[in-house]
């Protein structure tokens, strides 16, 4: 059996993430217009479009190299805070990915999560992308520990990310531009948690049936 998490699989994952962000670009921008500076959809779409082109032009042979290309391309092209944050996520994931199975993927995503937390000095409940990423990593670890196959575990992770995204609605933002709004940020879904949930949804779709 081929490794579930190989270069082709990871490439398919980010391609699907790019497709979903393109599809949801206006939604992300509207969410960001409510509590930020209305550029999250356009910025992330631009960055992921560049990522897809970069992987197309120069396909990376090994899985860690795919994630490194994703990181540096996002850093160069996204602009705004989501460039360094998503860049750090993929950079740390790339540095940690040590194998091709579900456990290796889970460890890489966990390293990415820790990197985002350290970079943004954010924690759970701050109304950020972490509120989608952290429950997703927990769900993935738990499902794999229960011996469930990777595709099921990734679906559980995607559902947990969506739940985490929805849970940001009543939160008061404590980080980034949205924190300037204080209590007025409550009642709005966080755009970063929304795009992070798309990233997990893409993983569940693209990495399913591979292992």
């Amino acid at each position: 059996m081929a490794d579930a998490v190989d270069a082709a699989g990871l490439t398919a994952w980010v391609q699907e993430f790019a497709r979903l962000v393109r599809e949801q670009r206006d939604v992300l921008t509207e969410l960001d217009a409510a509590i930020g500076d209305a550029d999250h959809g356009a910025n992330l779409d631009r960055g992921l479009t560049a990522v897809v082109s970069a992987l197309d032009a120069d396909p990376a042979a090994d899985p860690a190299a795919v994630l490194k290309t994703v990181a540096t391309t996002l850093i160069r092209t996204v602009g705004g805070a989501s460039g360094p944050l998503y860049g750090t996520f993929f950079l740390r994931a790339s540095g940690t990915l040590g194998g091709g199975d579900g456990a290796a993927l889970a460890a890489a995503l966990r390293a990415g999560l820790d990197g985002v937390a350290a970079r943004g000095k954010a924690g759970p409940g701050d109304k950020t992308m972490l509120d989608a990423l952290a429950p997703a990593c927990d769900a993935l670890d738990e499902a794999l520990a229960d011996g469930r196959p990777l595709d099921e575990a990734l679906r559980a992770a995607a559902e947990a990310a969506a739940g985490g995204r929805d849970a940001t609605v009543p939160m008061v933002a404590r980080k980034g531009r949205a924190s300037y709004l204080g209590e007025r940020s409550a009642g709005h879904q966080d755009p970063g948690a929304t795009s992070a949930a798309l990233m997990l949804q893409a993983a569940a779709t693209a990495l399913t049936g591979r292992g």
């Binding site: 540096t72 850093i75 160069r76 092209t77 602009g79 705004g80 805070a81 460039g83 360094p84 944050l85 860049g87 750090t88 950079l91 970079r119 943004g120 980034g176 531009r177």
Partner: protein, 137 residues
């Protein structure tokens, strides 16, 4: 060689003008200042890969002090450290000083031949004269 300086800003014109102002304090003096500012299209933004390149260019082995504006410039400067070789990273200080006042303080001190930590300390003290003047202290 003097300690190297790097100016990180969302805006290229803002960074260039800050460097122009600092150089104005140092006629005829040598100063290694690199700018990493604006996004790839020349708009407002910061790019950690450009910051890493600027740090490498400013580094002559005696260290680099990085001054930055706000928000994602700080996140990008921190991300840039992850992209550097270990040996270079150890010589870099990210300064919490205000950009303009900090740069002027750092530039004057670096051009005088002070070491990295002294340059970083002077950058951090950059606001003191203005605060003392306006608060009567």
């Amino acid at each position: 060689m003097p300690v190297g300086l790097v100016v990180v800003s969302h805006s290229r014109p803002l960074a260039d003008a800050a460097v122009h102002l600092a150089r104005g304090m140092l006629p005829g003096r040598e100063l290694a200042v690199e700018v990493a500012a604006g996004d790839v299209d020349g708009g407002l933004g910061t790019d950690a890969t450009a910051i890493a390149d600027a740090i490498t260019a400013a580094d002559s082995g005696d260290g680099v002090v990085v001054l930055m504006d706000l928000g994602s410039a700080v996140l990008s400067a921190e991300t840039a450290l992850e992209l550097l070789d270990d040996a270079v990273r150890e010589r870099v200080v990210l300064s919490p000083a205000p950009l303009v006042e900090g740069l002027v303080g750092a530039a004057v001190t670096a051009a005088a031949g002070a070491g990295r930590d002294r340059v970083a300390a002077e950058a951090l003290r950059g606001l003191a004269p203005k605060q003392a003047h306006l608060t009567g202290g």
